[in-house]
């Protein structure tokens, strides 16, 4: 009897302990934390740590034996001071902005135009065309840029060959600064426009057909329907895609590296290729880190305004 009783008590206390542990594990906040843990690890490991390390690196001197001294900026900001005083660096800033803004605008316009065309062909043919138009985006850009490089080649340029047929003089695609800049933009647009196209196509499909019908009855021409229905309805997708593409394009590396390698005379460098040139090729890693850190404030300002607009529109509509 006594043995039975004590056994019963210990069994009961055992389940009591197990259930409190179980309750802890079942708490929603615990589960939520455990489920986000892998993501936290990834973000900290792949974003947080490298960013912090990059900031640390940018404060070091060339041999990385101590902080970089500055003349008028505090110790540790010497690399930035040198960049501020460097004409080449300001050229790179300017160049990166020109490159990113014109490439993103062109990609957005061409992507929108393609999406509109696709949207108006019947579903059966649409899949085929969509697949073909996506090809530039799925080829690794380093490879496709090599193809473009060959087409731009001074002696064997197939583009020049075609131009010659129409009696247009040969173009020094990569030899002359403005043409080289244009070439980089052309290749980037060719590579990036399909991404805009696919995003805009999805957005176009999500605009209810009846809004167009209502607008047509209200008296809108097709141009006015685009202006007053399509564009406002797509505003969020457009701004998010532009922001996303701006970030990626700003940090673009492979196209410049393969096509011009910054030349002629460092006139086509953008942030990433210049950071590579300074940091790796000229073995000044801290200064390279300082160059690449410079993108951050510029992009942060863009992101702030774009996302604020998105949040505002989200609150008002939908």
């Amino acid at each position: 009897m006594a043995a039975d009783g004590s056994l019963a008590v210990s069994a009961a206390s055992g389940t009591g302990r197990a259930s409190s542990l179980e309750r802890f594990a079942r708490r929603r906040s615990t589960i939520a934390f455990l489920m986000t843990l892998p993501l936290l690890v990834v973000v900290i490991g792949l974003v947080g740590y490298p960013a912090a390390y990059g900031i640390y690196l940018s404060t070091l001197n060339r041999r990385m034996t101590g902080f970089m001294e500055g003349d008028w900026l505090p110790t540790g900001l010497g690399n930035f001071e040198i960049l501020f005083d460097s004409d080449t660096f300001w050229m790179v800033v300017w160049q990166s902005c020109i490159f990113a803004i014109s490439a993103v605008l062109l990609k957005a316009l061409i992507g929108f135009w393609l999406a509109h065309m696709l949207h108006h062909i019947p579903t059966k043919g649409q899949r085929k065309w969509r697949g073909m138009l996506l090809v530039p985006w799925v080829i690794p850009p380093a490879l496709s840029t090599l193809g473009w490089w060959w087409m731009f080649d001074p002696s064997y340029s197939s583009i020049n060959w075609i131009l010659n047929i129409f009696a247009v003089p040969a173009v020094p695609w990569l030899g002359e600064p403005w043409w080289a800049r244009a070439s980089v933009i052309i290749v980037n647009v060719w590579y990036g426009a399909p991404f805009f196209m696919i995003m805009y196509l999805a957005a176009l499909k999500s605009v209810p057909e009846q809004l167009y019908e209502a607008a047509a009855i209200d008296g809108a021409t097709s141009w006015q329907r685009l202006r007053y229905v399509t564009l406002p309805m797509m505003a969020n997708i457009i701004s998010i895609t532009v922001l996303f593409s701006l970030i990626v394009t700003f940090a673009n590396y492979d196209i410049v590296r393969v096509l011009t390698n910054g030349g002629p005379r460092d006139l086509t460098h953008v942030f990433a290729s210049y950071a590579f040139q300074v940091g790796i090729l000229s073995s000044n890693i801290p200064r390279g880190a300082a160059v690449s850190l410079f993108m951050f404030p510029i992009l942060a300002v863009c992101a702030f305004f774009v996302l604020r607009g998105v949040t505002r529109r989200n609150k008002e509509q939908m």
Binding site: Q210, E213, A214, A215, I217, D218, G219, Y228, P232
Partner: protein
């Protein structure tokens, strides 16, 4: 202000689906016409062809005397209210209503006057600054109507405007639409699958089925004199009973023989009309409200009939009783005081003045 005429309108979709099979319809100025019929009968297609949203395969549509076949929607001077309202989500209520006028380059002051006036009629003045997202279904419906009213078009088109509302709001908005029509008096074409909506709103009802017009007429006429079995069964709720029967002639009088052996005398006034069908099978059509309990009545020509209820549904103001005659379902509307019970034979009266006889070979009402 305008009349609308449809002349031999045909609509064929790809794959030879004929949604509308050559319909003719004349709609007078200021008239409120309702197209009603079951889902898929071609009502929306007809309305959308009038709006110019759908191409016409054959025939002519004229608005205010002008053939509009090749005129785009924006130049037809029509306004349309859609089932899901189709409000522009990024515009305020005010801008939604003003949009059509802005596009037509009306002066700001005139736009403001019209929008405020429409908002007053529809009782949505406090909502003018809101976005559609912040409105209830009924309020969105009003805005959609406001958008149509401010335009002061030749014709209003409505495509099932109340179908997305709950039952109570639907009744309320129905009255509202009727009031608005009485105020602005614009020619209106209204599509619905709900015969109650059609009966209550219309000056004339157009009953459609399978892409053709079955009958056109004022609501009372469709109710009392349906032309076909379809119209007889579609108009009225609960629906008319159809009982297979035989017409027998004995010494100049006609009698209806029901399959359960009951015989009903055909009123003398109708004998001449049906005589040619004597001896043939027919369908006996009688509405539940004309099949009532046996009580002294001022109606002439009552015919007694005894049936056994299978289901009894007390509704409060009346009781519905359901019977079966040789497989055909039959219902009757009883006085709630009648002691009816399932399985207990019940003596009923068929009001033969209100009955219809249908030729089963072509489904025409004789």
């Amino acid at each position: 202000m305008a009349e609308v005429s449809l002349r031999r309108i045909v609509k064929a979709y790809e794959g030879d689906v004929q949604a509308v099979k050559g319909i003719n319809l004349e709609i007078a100025d200021h008239e409120f016409v309702v197209l009603v019929g079951p889902s898929g009968c071609g009502k929306s297609t007809t309305l959308r062809m009038i709006a110019g949203l759908e191409e016409i395969t054959a025939g002519d549509i004229a608005i205010g005397g002008t053939v509009v076949n090749d005129i785009p929607p924006r130049d037809r001077d029509i306004a349309m209210v859609f089932q899901n309202y189709a409000l522009y989500p990024h515009m305020s209520v005010y801008d939604n209503m003003a949009f059509g006028l802005t596009l037509r380059k009306f002066p700001k002051a005139e736009i403001d006057k019209r929008v405020k006036e429409a908002a007053r009629i529809l009782d949505i003045t406090p909502l003018l600054e809101r976005k559609p997202k912040a409105l209830s279904g009924g309020q969105r419906q009003r805005v959609a109507m406001g958008r149509a009213i401010v335009r002061d078009p030749k014709v209003f088109l409505f495509d099932e405007p109340l179908s997305n509302l709950d039952a109570k709001l639907r009744v309320q908005m129905r009255t509202e639409i009727k009031k608005v029509h009485q105020t602005v008096n614009t020619t209106t074409i209204y599509v619905t699958h709900d015969q109650v909506e059609a009966m209550t709103l219309a000056d004339r009802v157009v009953v459609m089925n399978h892409g053709i017009i079955e009958q056109v007429g004022p609501p009372q006429e469709l109710y009392h004199n349906p032309a076909t079995k379809f119209v007889a069964g579609f108009i009225g709720s609960p629906a008319m009973n159809f009982i297979p029967a035989r017409l027998e002639e004995t010494s100049g009088a006609l009698r209806l023989m029901l399959p359960d052996g009951a015989t009903l005398n055909v009123p003398e006034a109708r004998v001449a009309r049906y005589r040619s069908h004597a001896g043939k099978p027919v369908l006996f059509g009688i509405r539940p409200e004309h099949l009532t309990d046996d009580k002294p009545t001022d109606k002439t020509n009552p015919a007694p009939l005894t049936l056994t209820p299978e289901v009894i549904e007390p509704m409060g103001m009346e009781t519905l009783a359901h019977f079966r005659i040789d497989g055909a379902e039959v219902s009757a509307r009883l006085d709630p005081a009648t002691p009816a019970a399932v399985g207990q034979p019940l003596r009923l009266i068929a009001h033969m003045d209100q009955m219809h006889i249908i030729d089963p070979t072509n489904d025409k009402v004789l």
